[in-house]
């Protein structure tokens, strides 16, 4: 009888208490130094605790090797605290407010800035004084908070593009389209050939966001897209309506039952050559096309829709490391980040994790797989880099509002007008709050 209330108290408990359970020793809270003072990295030693969202075997193994390497190079021991990826994301706000680890995995852009704004992470400008030389201006911009200070050390990233199986395309004689008309024509041809033209899945809710981002950047340009995401004030406009109207043209070519399929099931359709193309990230699809299949994975940039914007923007989410507000071992944390910010460290890690590419310059590209080498070409050729819908906008807007709205559109494509009107109304209450 008291159960519904009981659940609520559990939620509350999770809210105020879960972080304390997730984090390391409770004593940490009292031993913090001032977070604004600079750390003397030359005297750094001891152990650095590390909150990682990479609990699954593959990235975890790569990290374990990396930490062993870091110990050799810097003398710093890393004590990782492995957490499931989604759980880590869900608990991030309570985690950062309780006793977080010294260093933790997180994402660049708005998603990092949100927590920097709350004063929950350390300024790592001191690290950038050392590593700054090996990063591009675009990469630097994605590592800064709204106050212009550095909060992130980027580590790896990957592009979103339209992926396909090279051998299937060769057999069928397809060529990569660059414009919208060619893209639709190709999809039509694939359908006639008995393929699912575009493997598309959205049971998880987020994979469709990538397609929205690309359509919006191609139709309305990068600046419109980023402003829409950051300010949330132009949703009920003809421009956004245009995005959904264009999207509707693709729906007949999508996987049947798309809303009941996970991205892995979609990637399988591509791997088994049942489907012709798929809009997804290299970080995901690269874990499906492995071993001898790795070099069969080809991709092309999302096609041009308006020549004014061409194919300028590439969606390239950057993952990296942040230092919590008051780390126990600040000097050690900074020294570790200096190491992780080098091409050497990144290359070492990518050796075991070939679905991403390094963020630092100076990596030996001859060791990259073919998709990795192509990804570098695509990203370095881009005029603008976006981060992904749920990394470019407020977290309390992306998941609770946009995710179900896009699913609703996919179910009833005719309702786009009322859907964007509703997104607009909700955005107003969230962004002004």
């Amino acid at each position: 009888m008291a159960q519904p209330i009981g659940r609520r108290s559990i939620l509350r408990g999770a809210l105020f208490g879960a972080g304390a359970l997730a984090a390391g020793p409770v004593l940490a809270a009292c031993s913090s130094g001032g977070s604004t003072s600079s750390a003397d990295v030359s005297k750094a030693s001891g152990t650095v605790t590390f909150g990682s969202n990479a609990a699954v075997p593959e990235p975890k193994g790569a990290y374990e090797k990396l930490f062993a390497q870091a110990k050799q190079a810097t003398g710093i021991s890393v004590k990782p605290n492995w957490v499931d990826h989604n759980t880590f994301q869900q608990q991030i706000s309570s985690y950062l407010q309780s006793n977080p680890d010294d260093v933790f995995n997180w994402f660049a852009g708005e998603r990092m800035q949100y927590f920097a704004d709350q004063g929950l992470v350390s300024d790592v400008g001191q690290v950038w004084d050392k590593i700054g030389g090996s990063y591009t201006a675009a990469m630097k911009a994605q590592s800064k908070g709204k106050d212009g200070k550095y909060y992130l050390v980027p580590f790896d990233y990957y592009p979103w593009a339209v992926f396909y199986s090279k051998s299937l395309w060769k057999q069928k004689g397809y060529t990569a389209p660059t414009t919208w008309a060619q893209y639709i024509a190709l999809a039509k041809k694939m359908k006639a050939d008995g393929l699912i033209p575009i493997a598309f899945t959205d049971k998880d809710g987020w994979p469709a966001m990538g397609t929205f981002d690309y359509l919006n950047m191609r139709i309305n340009g990068f600046d419109f897209h980023i402003n829409l995401m950051r300010n949330g004030d132009k949703w009920n406009t003809p421009q956004v309506k245009q995005v959904f109207d264009t999207w509707r043209e693709l729906l007949p070519y999508y996987s049947p039952g798309a809303l009941g399929l996970t991205w892995q099931e979609g990637a399988q359709q591509l791997l088994t050559q049942k489907a012709g193309m798929m809009v997804i990230g290299l970080d995901q699809i690269g874990t499906i096309f492995t071993g001898s299949k790795a070099d069969d994975l080809g991709f092309f940039a999302f096609p041009e829709i308006d020549s004014q914007y061409g194919q300028d923007a590439v969606e390239a989410p950057i993952d990296g490391f942040l230092v919590s507000k008051s780390p126990k071992n600040k000097a050690g944390a900074f020294k570790l980040l200096e190491y992780l910010g080098t091409a050497t460290a990144q290359q070492f890690w990518l050796g075991s994790n070939p679905a991403d590419i390094a963020t630092a310059n100076g990596v030996d590209t001859s060791k990259y797989t073919q998709p990795q080498a192509d990804a570098v070409k695509l990203i370095t050729g881009a005029k603008q880099l976006s981060q992904f819908m749920d990394r470019d906008t407020r977290p309390d807007f992306a998941d609770p509002v946009l995710l179900p709205a896009i699913q609703k559109f996919l179910n009833s494509p005719g309702d786009a007008a009322s859907i964007i009107k509703n997104i607009d109304a909700q955005a107003k209450t969230i962004f002004t709050g």
């Binding site: 609520r8 939620l11 049971k203």
Partner: protein, 318 residues
Amino acid sequence: MTVVEGAVRGAPERDEGRGRRRRVRRLTGRDRVVLSLMAGIPTVLTVGLVWLPALASIVLSFSNWSGFGDFSSIQWIGTENYKNIFTIYPEFPPAIGHNLLWLAVFFCLPAPVGLFLAVQLDKQIKFSRVYQSILFMPVVLSLALIGFMTELIFSPTQGLLNNLTGHADHHVIDWIGNPSINIYAVLVMACWRQTGYVMILFLAGLKSVDASLKEAASLDGANGWQVFRHVTWPALRPINVVVLVVTVIESLRAFDIVYIINKGTNGLQLLSVLVTDNIIGEASRIGFGSALATILLVISLIFIVPYLISMFRRDRGE
């Protein structure tokens, strides 16, 4: 000895108040400590873990708060959250609808079917224990596990059902992604579990029905249905109340299956999921989520208060 004397002396005087007071006074110090711990610890736990959070939720439902910073960062915005939930939150109407559907289905299917199975199993048929174990098995499984099983059975391309019926490659039936049918796929699995649960409750109740009563009724010429209707059913009354309460609880706290499948979006919205989505996460809308939680609390009370009233009335009657 003295305690008993006090109680005995108090009773004939029909002065319960005085009697109780006298009894308490005669408790030893240790008794008093034990008694106050026995009453105190549950009270503290209930107040601290149930009532205070519930009240805090109600208070916070009138605020806008991200959960960051101290309490001074809370903005009080009156009934704005409730207004937004009822006007511009598209997930809310389906969530209410699905919770009520869940309740209706649980009343109409697992409850009567569970009773039917219990009555059959109670008839000392052969292999009764085997059937019992089979039917009870799903209750042992967690709802999260049943969520995974739902995916294995109903997934559009890889699921058992579509592959058996030849709907996996062409004419795919999207049991999980089509928002007009996925709730029923989930309910099939939820009912499968709930039926076993209800069955075991009824079975326990049936064991306590005096067999000689049924025998006497049979000797008087009552048929199976008449025995059930006039002897068994009235004896089951206390169990019916338990089943009723369990059904309401299980419907309102439904969460795990849908959360495992698609985080409770796209046709599988439930109030419990909306509360979680808004409160737990990267950035939380604590006020908004609390308002949703308060609505869930009110709905629970609609079912619980009449039950409590009838229970108290009966106690007083006896």
